[in-house]
């Protein structure tokens, strides 16, 4: 999955940190967006880091919690079933 974008990059001159000439290639270039991310995640809004990214964070968290709660309840149920004697005729 990561091989294709890598192959694209291998074929082009990327802007180096050491200030080489900018390529005039018209191929797709990844830009350094770290400063934006840093500003976004350092905003003092009181949101904990696991939810700070936005709506997707909340959805993923809820999905994970739902699976865990449901699964734990199911385990307890199966334990109860497995620990009851089966009726033998």
């Amino acid at each position: 999955m990561f091989v294709c974008p890598v192959a694209a990059f291998l074929a082009e001159n990327l802007r180096q940190i050491s200030q080489r000439t900018i390529s005039t290639a018209s191929r797709r270039q990844i830009e350094n967006r770290i400063a934006e991310k840093q500003k976004f995640f350092q905003e003092e809004n009181g949101i904990p880091v696991h939810l700070k990214g936005g709506v997707m964070d909340v959805l993923l968290y809820r999905a994970t919690m739902a699976i865990s709660v449901f699964g734990t309840a199911y385990v307890v149920y199966e334990l109860l079933v497995a620990s009851m004697p089966k009726k033998q005729k």
Partner: protein, 261 residues
């Protein structure tokens, strides 16, 4: 606004530790349901929740370090200790399987024909695909070191090339091992030879897949400018893990594949 007067990282409250524990509960219970009652729904739930927890927990660590700057040198030092301790624990894990192999192979019982490999077992030729696999992993150790040097020297293009090559070599190893497993004339059910062979090499293969995944995440982060020339611990941790996987293979090759044939 209060700021800390120490160099440690006091993390935000997080649900991942406890959800990771429930994922482990679901996975282990799921294994029991699968073994004893032949249903795999719980196991699937367990593995899914494990994957979700890992993705979100590690995503948060990237946010805390690269985006929020919490990984001071103190924190980094402690993370190094942690990774070394973890890899040491993995070494002990494999030690157990090597012990099991040596226990059975050093003094083969009469039931095995008093010999190792046991009667009726045709072992794989160590000079064929296993030798190629050895070369592949050794080469990947070189390429990952090349990638590290490229990162410290701020050579972005070479770092990406070298890390990509490392990952490709890892995939190549996995693909070759998969064909070996498919073509092998013996199975895991073939007595203690089959058990020790497939459990030891199987867990190693799983660790190759884990290591390749870790390196792939590092490649993505490398492309997205997360690493600097003097702060790239995520990559170093992945490289340590990869070298560990390589060393385990060398022991596997020398004992099980070569001596054991």
């Amino acid at each position: 606004m209060a700021h800390q007067a120490h160099s440690y990282h006091m993390v935000d409250p997080s649900p991942w530790p406890i959800l990771g524990a429930t994922a482990a509960l679901l996975t282990t219970s799921g294994l029991i349901m699968w073994f004893h009652f032949n249903t795999s729904y719980l196991l699937a739930l367990g593995l899914l929740s494990m994957l979700l927890v890992m993705l979100q927990w590690w995503r948060d660590i990237v946010r805390e370090s690269t985006f929020q700057g919490h990984h001071t040198p103190t924190v980094q030092k402690d993370l190094r200790y942690g990774m070394i301790l973890f890899i040491t624990s993995e070494a002990f894990f494999f030690l157990g399987f090597f012990w099991a192999f040596l226990h059975s192979s050093l003094a083969p019982t009469p039931e095995l024909g008093g010999q190792w490999p046991p009667s009726g077992i045709n072992p794989l030729n160590p000079l064929e695909v296993p030798l190629l696999n050895t070369a592949i992993l050794l080469a990947s150790g070189v390429t990952v070191t090349w990638a590290h040097h490229s990162i410290t020297e701020s050579n972005r293009k070479q770092a990406i090339q070298a890390l990509a090559l490392t990952i490709l070599l890892g995939f190549y190893f996995t693909a070759l091992q998969a064909t070996e497993y498919y073509e092998a004339p013996f199975s895991i059910a073939d007595g203690v030879y089959g058990s020790t062979f497939f459990v030891a090499t199987g867990f190693h293969g799983l660790h190759v897949i884990i290591g390749s995944s870790f390196l792939s995440v590092c490649l993505l982060r490398l492309i997205k400018f997360h690493f600097t020339s003097n702060h790239h611990f995520g990559f170093e941790a992945a490289a340590w893990y990869w070298h560990f996987v390589d060393v385990i293979w060398l022991f596997l090759y020398m004992t099980i594949y070569w001596w054991g044939s």
